[in-house]
Amino acid sequence: MTDLSAAPACLPRPRPSLLDPSDRMRRRNAAETRFRLYGLAAIAIALTMLAIMLFTILRDGVSAFTQASLSFPVELSAEVLDPEGNRDRAEMAKVTTIGYGRVLAAAFTAELGRRGIATDLSEKDIGALISRDAPGTLRAQVLANPALVGTTIDAKVFAAGRIDGFLKGRVTLDSAERDSNISPAQLRLAQQLVEAGILTSAFNWDFLTNPDASDQRPEASGLGVALIGSAYMMVLVLLMCVPVGIAASIYLEEFAPRNRWTDAIEVNISNLAAVPSIVYGILGLAIFINFAGLPQSSSLVGALVLSLMTLPTIIIATRAAIRAVPPSIRDAALGVGASKTQTVFHHVLPLAAPGILTGTILGLATALGETAPLLLIGMVAFVDNYPAAPPDGILSPATALPVQVYSWASRSDPAFIERSNGAIIVLLVFLVAMNVTAILLRRRFERRW
């Protein structure tokens, strides 16, 4: 009771009104406001960054979805394309794309003459307005249907990349002065062609369906192979990861005894989820290509590597979803005589399914955007042929969407910058769609206890 002697010193403490805040109260309020402003600022910074990123990608990438093409009639003269006259595919195949290129250039020049478009350019310079992709396309068309020889067809071919850039405003008369690949005279001719309706610009489905093209034909390059490759890989990852991931999680959550071993496994799974993805690429190269002898650059190897990478994420998400099912459900099932397996499959798993699905979709979305592990297994490559239909197709060489972004970004022709950003837009659309599906599934099926 010796404290009592000190007590009177505390007594004359004033009781200020709440309406008349003390200094301390004012400081606390200020701190509160400040903290809220910090939070707001953080969100504002994040949103600004996102907006800048989206703005630059859209600004540079939207133009990839339109493409300039030239329409003019082409006479497929039999003397040039089938000198033997037998309409035999093997004989006709001797005429290379160089021959078809001349046919196209001549037909185009003739069309200019017919339409009264005057130009003093040489036939070679006029022909340079046509994409280098066009002869190959025409040749494939004629070889597939030899009856076309001798007729005149209405060809619609891509315009060269620089002409396309001119319609999109990337190439100007000023820049053409200094550009060794295009002259101002060619651009003026292009202007006349637009007025004559020969050169038109339209939505470019080929950007989504064409395979990749070499550095000389940015206009013909597309995401076809990359989309198929990504689709194959996602399906395979799903098929491999979901059963393995769910089985592993059920065992660890419901059946495994708690001992040092299961603890070690648990820690390892969490650690594996944090391993840099390139490490899985090295592992994949060693196991799947060098040891198992699977073909390089194939979607199967890509999917195996991505599965290894995604599996820990899926196991963690699945275990969390299973753990979230209240024990009372299990107790009730066991109480009415269900076996452990019946409890899991009849009650726990259905209730955990929305969480598992969400986790799986988010894991897949990460795998979809991954490039680094694919670098080592030969998928960062120029692949010009579509993969075959499944199941054989999973062994054909393929690329993936993020890979295409990367390889286009390092090409020398400036037209590929637009393609690269266009590919990012496609990739983002897929990622957003997957995330929205995950959110919708969660909203629709999630149960809270």
Partner: protein, 351 residues
């Protein structure tokens, strides 16, 4: 962890046993990113004109490509390695150790290396000596070696603009760096007299070792921010040049020719780089481009021989072919290469 590993190996085994001994239909090519665009142009045209599938072409660097070529024989290994520098003895030894006995060396053309600045900037007429004075760590100053004091180009050559020095050099992992070191920096080192000073100061058992050490000393570039090593692609160099208009970047001739609206090329020793001047040897900074073919795969991988022949044909690698249009300096001795390819002559020992 255990279950995870078991799963992984079970998957691998299941996949491997389900698909035994896979034949490969398409050619696999890897290697230099400088050769990559040329190889893709040929691969694409090959796919269009032949009834074989287009080859799969990867980049990744000359050294890495040659190493992959030498991993062994069999369909899981690559068929062709592109290279922007000649194969080294160490690669040949590695190949021999892994059973890759015969390799065909195919030189298909030359690549010029150009120095370029922003298109709106001043003209540069450079000599190797100027570049050495600009980027070396130590330069010859009044007859003695000194830490590079130069801040502006005009300080050592009154003909150059009074502009701050900033050179974007190729990074050490590039094949381009080797040519840059050999044909520009060491030449410049010798021309300015710094080489003799280095040689006098060099340690070594004999003359050869001393000269080697002196060259090494020459190749040390300054690290005070006026020389920046670019480890990325030429597109990165271009982007850097865009943000810093004072910079001079190092590019491949083909890259420059595709971006002439953004770049102003510098002359080297008074010669403007172009396909003609590189081919004639007037323009000094150039290098041959190669690809190496695993001979054991000829006749096994469908279309391999046809691809190699098509690559070096006049329609492709000739002076009027698409490769030359893209920036390749066509090889004056292409006919000899074509004959060697047709005869499948393997390469002899390095001289």
């Amino acid at each position: 962890m255990k279950s995870f590993h078991v799963t992984a190996s079970v998957l691998a085994f299941a996949a491997a046993s389900a698909l035994p001994a896979m034949a490969r239909d398409q050619i696999q090519i890897t290697g230099s990113s400088t050769v990559l665009p040329y190889a893709t142009i040929v691969a694409e045209a090959f796919g269009e004109n032949f009834d074989f599938p287009s080859p799969v072409v990867e980049g990744g660097g000359s050294g890495a490509g040659r190493k992959k070529l030498c991993e062994g024989v069999g369909t899981t290994t690559v068929d062709i390695a592109n290279s922007s520098s000649r194969i080294a003895q160490s690669d040949i030894d590695l190949c021999a150790a892994n059973g890759v006995a015969e390799i065909m060396e195919v030189r298909f053309g030359y690549d010029g290396i150009v120095f370029a600045s922003d298109v709106n900037g001043p003209e540069f007429a450079l000599n190797p000596a100027d570049l050495f004075n600009a980027v070396a760590e130590t330069v010859a100053k009044d007859g003695a070696l000194a830490a590079n004091p130069h801040r502006q180009w005009a300080e050592f050559n009154a003909d150059l603009p009074a502009q701050d020095i900033l050179v974007l050099s190729p990074g050490t992992k590039h094949g381009t760096r080797e040519v840059y070191d050999q044909k520009v920096i060491i030449e410049g080192c010798k021309a300015t007299g710094a080489f003799d000073l280095h040689l006098a100061a060099a340690e070594g058992a004999d003359e050869k070792e001393k000269a080697g050490n002196a060259e090494k000393a020459c190749m040390k570039l300054r690290t005070d921010g006026r020389n920046v090593d670019i480890d990325g692609d030429y597109t990165e160099t271009l982007a850097r040049l865009d943000t810093n208009k004072n910079a001079i970047g190092v590019f491949g001739l083909s890259f420059y020719q595709n971006n002439t609206d953004k770049l102003r090329v510098a002359t080297m020793g008074g010669v403007v780089p172009s396909a003609e001047t590189v081919a004639s040897g007037e323009y000094p900074v150039s290098r041959p481009l190669y690809f190496y073919v695993k001979k054991a795969h000829l006749g096994v991988i469908p279309g391999l021989k046809e691809y190699v022949e098509f690559f070096v044909s006049d329609d492709m690698a000739g002076p009027d072919g698409p490769l030359a249009e893209y920036g390749l300096v066509s090889d004056p001795e292409l006919a000899a290469t074509q004959a060697a390819v047709a005869a499948e002559t393997p390469m002899g020992p390095l001289n």
